[in-house]
């Protein structure tokens, strides 16, 4: 139960009520005071003072002064009248309750409104500040733009002047040209007439004037370029310079930022080619490079070029043991076998190569043509001409523009027809 504070004292004027409330030693802060239009409460636990006022007051303008163990209220009446007493006398409990609640609600509403009003003013302030900064920036930008515009106009004027000078210059030059032409033509005409009068051979006279007129035009030219033309050196003697490029595997342009990626890719490719079939135990005593199918292929190619076909076959054999998925190895070995006249082996190898070259794409066109040609040759040498012709036609299908293939196919056709006729 709260302790009621009842020792208050008050006095009034027509417009205001002055209420003095002693606090029994308790300290008061503004938070402890609650005031609405007709209700006043001071609650400092455990003390409580409550008053339902006689008449409504203007609670926004009323003040409360806290000090000296006392709260001094200055309440401004809404209607100037003298109150009979500070509080309503016959206030029953319900009315009191209702008034209290009402007061609380009103107070809350007021608080809300105040908060909103504050927010609105804050926003307006912000907006104003923003507009001010924008104006300042705009002014700055405009200043810079103006400077640029001035530059531009100045420069444009200079340009126009220069252009006009050019035009005038051209006109002047063309006028000069015409004048000089006129000057040249007059004496020419005079001379022409003279020649006619002197009854010279007409051809000579005409040719002379023609020569003169040509030279006349030459000297007219302001830049006297024609004179210079007579002194131009003859066209250079044609020659070719052979060029070597810094090697690059990729067809795209070289970029520094991509170099690392490209190196990695190439490395992986080389690794992949090396790793297949590398678990053959009897290869341990070979040197590192001899375990690399690419190196072996190169070695085989060199030996083929030098005519050492058996050596080349050995190299290719070893390479195949290391990696039997490279079609080029079989292709080259087929060529070796052809030279060694191991025709069945040549056919086998060409077939294996073609198998490995299965996705028939433009990239392996060359390889496929070679495979067909080698197999075809082998068949023909075994006198299986129809199979040979089939292979040649397949090769022609891939590469229709190859003249040598066409000739060979023709030869085979003739041979077939010849044997058919004779049999």
């Amino acid at each position: 139960m709260p302790v009621w504070l009842r020792e208050h004292s008050w006095r009034q004027t027509l417009t205001a009520v002055y209420l003095s409330l002693p606090l029994r030693g308790a300290r008061a802060t503004p938070a402890n005071i609650f005031c609405s239009e007709q209700y006043l409460k001071v609650s400092i636990p455990p003390f409580l003072f409550e008053a339902v006022l006689f008449a409504p007051i203007d609670d926004t303008n009323s003040t409360a002064k806290i000090g000296n163990g006392n709260i001094f209220f200055t309440l401004y009446k809404k209607e100037p009248a003298l109150w009979d007493s500070l509080t309503l006398a016959n206030a029953d409990k319900e009315k009191l309750q209702y008034l209290r609640e009402n007061a609380v609600l009103k107070a809350q509403e007021k608080a809300r409104e105040e908060a909103e009003a504050k927010k609105i003013t804050k926003q307006e302030h912000k907006k104003y500040a923003l507009e001010a900064t924008m104006k300042v920036e705009e002014a700055e930008r405009k200043r810079i733009e103006d400077l640029k515009e001035k530059e531009r106009q100045k420069v444009a004027k200079e340009l126009e002047l220069w252009k006009n000078q050019q035009k005038d210059g051209d006109k002047y030059k063309s006028i000069q040209k015409k004048e000089e032409l006129h000057q040249e033509i007059e004496p020419l005409e005079e001379r022409k007439n003279e020649n006619m009068n002197k009854t010279r051979i007409p051809n000579e006279g005409h040719s002379k004037t023609r020569l003169k007129s040509i030279r006349g035009h030459g000297s007219c030219s302001i830049f006297s370029q024609n004179l210079k033309e007579e002194q131009l050196p003859a066209p250079r003697v044609a020659a070719t310079i052979k060029v070597n490029f810094t090697p690059r595997v990729f067809p795209t342009a070289l970029r520094e930022s991509r170099v690392a990626e490209e190196e990695e890719w190439l490395h992986k490719q080389a690794e992949a080619r090396r790793i297949i079939n590398s678990d053959l135990s009897d290869l341990e005593d070979l040197k590192q490079e001899e375990k690399n199918p690419d190196w072996l292929k190169d070695k085989g190619n060199k030996m083929f070029a030098m005519g050492d076909y058996l050596g080349a076959v050995n190299a290719y054999n070893l390479a195949v043991r290391l990696n039997n998925k490279l079609p080029l190895l079989y292709l080259n070995r087929a060529a070796c076998h052809l030279k060694l006249r191991n025709l069945h082996k040549a056919i086998e190898d060409s077939s294996k190569a073609l198998e490995l070259l299965t996705p028939p794409v433009p990239d392996n066109e060359n390889a496929r043509v070679k495979a067909h040609v080698r197999r075809g040759t082998a068949f023909c040498q075994l006198e299986l001409y129809t199979e040979g012709l089939q292979d040649y036609e397949a090769a022609l299908k891939i590469d229709p523009r190859n003249k040598i293939l066409e000739k060979d196919a023709e030869k085979i056709r003739h041979l077939i027809q010849g044997t058919m006729q004779s049999s």
Binding site: K148, E151, F223, V237, I241, F245, R255, E256
Partner: protein
């Protein structure tokens, strides 16, 4: 750093912008006039040549010429000042020389290359330098050929890959060292980063190097003097300036390099009126204006006593971003200092004026 202060720096002012209805690959000033030429490829796969004249704040179209194949590059370098014939290279490998007054039939025509002609340069014309007028073309088929307009069908010099060598695209060519009637040098840049210098007097390779990025553009600071400086620009935003006065037997020419932009540097062009100032145009649509400063001593002796060049330093005078697409072509006007035209892949050609170049 140079003494280019804030208020005194050259400004790049965009004077006129012209939207085009085709992709412009090259733009050139017609010498001794306020006219410019735009070369490119229309959407339907034909070549377009447009001749514009500068009128105040706009460009007026004087002529439009259509050709069967898209045109990649052009030059006025090998014609006389009266004739002003344009030499063009197109997507099919044809080199044509046109008289713009009568463009139906070319004055000279040859199918020079098997693939697109990427770059063309001319020397000996326009009253500059001495010697025979010649045109050099560089193509995707890996060859660089030098043509004389007086000789039909065959080039006077052919720089081609060795038999069996896989070819690399030649992206750019430039003439230089044409200070008398015999001397001449061709510099070619390739997509694998090679730069090769061919001497046409001795018909041999004089120097080669690799700058580790595909070479987009090479230019000597002047064609008609003893070769002084060579600028080579490349992918990845780098460019190199070589001092060409002193060639070391093993180390070649001294150079300084700069990484200017994050994107490819498509073109470099020297100011005709001042050979130490040049502009680079980039793939991000920006232009950078540079000045080269010579070192105190241009050459020094190395440990074996042979002469070695010393490269100078570069300073950036100004940069400006004009477009979101690469600026692929750039040309200074030989008649008015600071006037230049640039063409970008956003189908616009812009006429720019660079101010305050006199104070550099």
């Amino acid at each position: 750093m140079s003494a280019a202060l804030g208020a005194e720096r050259p400004q790049v002012v965009s004077h006129v912008q012209q939207a085009l209805s085709y992709t412009v690959f090259d733009c050139k000033w017609v010498p001794r006039s306020a006219r410019l030429l735009c070369l490119g490829s229309a959407a339907r796969g034909t070549g377009v040549l447009q001749l514009y004249e500068l009128h105040g704040a706009r460009l007026e179209l004087l002529r439009e010429i259509e050709k069967p194949k898209p045109i990649k590059c052009g030059t006025f370098g090998a014609t006389s000042l009266q004739q002003r014939y344009l030499a063009t290279g197109d997507f099919d490998g044809n080199l044509n020389i046109w008289n713009l007054e009568a463009p139906e039939i070319p004055v000279y025509s040859v199918k020079g290359h098997k693939e697109i002609i990427n770059s063309i340069d001319g020397v000996g014309g326009l009253g500059i330098g001495e010697g025979a007028p010649e045109i050099v073309t560089g193509s995707r088929d890996g060859t660089v050929k030098v043509w004389d307009p007086r000789q039909n069908d065959t080039p006077v010099a052919n720089m081609e890959p060795v038999q069996g060598e896989s070819k690399r695209d030649c992206w750019t060519v430039a003439f230089g060292n044409a200070y008398n009637q015999e001397e001449r040098v061709v510099c070619a840049g390739y997509d694998n980063g090679d730069i090769k210098l061919f001497d046409l007097k001795t018909m041999s390779l004089r120097w080669e190097t690799n700058i580790k990025n595909g070479v987009c553009s090479v230019e000597f600071d002047r064609k008609d003097i003893n070769m002084n400086k060579l600028v080579a620009t490349s992918l990845e935003g780098k460019f190199h300036v070589f001092d060409m006065r002193t060639q070391h037997p093993t180390k070649g020419f001294a150079s300084v390099s700069e990484k200017a932009q994050k994107s490819t540097i498509w073109q470099v062009r020297h100011l005709p009126q001042n050979r130490d100032i040049f502009m680079t145009s980039g793939g991000s649509g920006s232009l950078h204006l540079w000045k080269y400063e010579y070192p105190a001593q241009r050459s020094k002796k190395d440990s074996e006593g042979s002469e070695m060049g010393v490269a100078g330093s570069l300073s950036l005078l100004q940069n400006v971003t004009l477009s979101t697409q690469p600026i692929s072509s750039l040309d200074w006007s030989p008649d008015k200092k600071g006037l230049c035209v640039c063409g970008a892949f956003d189908q616009t050609v812009r006429v720019l004026i660079v101010t305050k170049l006199n104070k550099i």
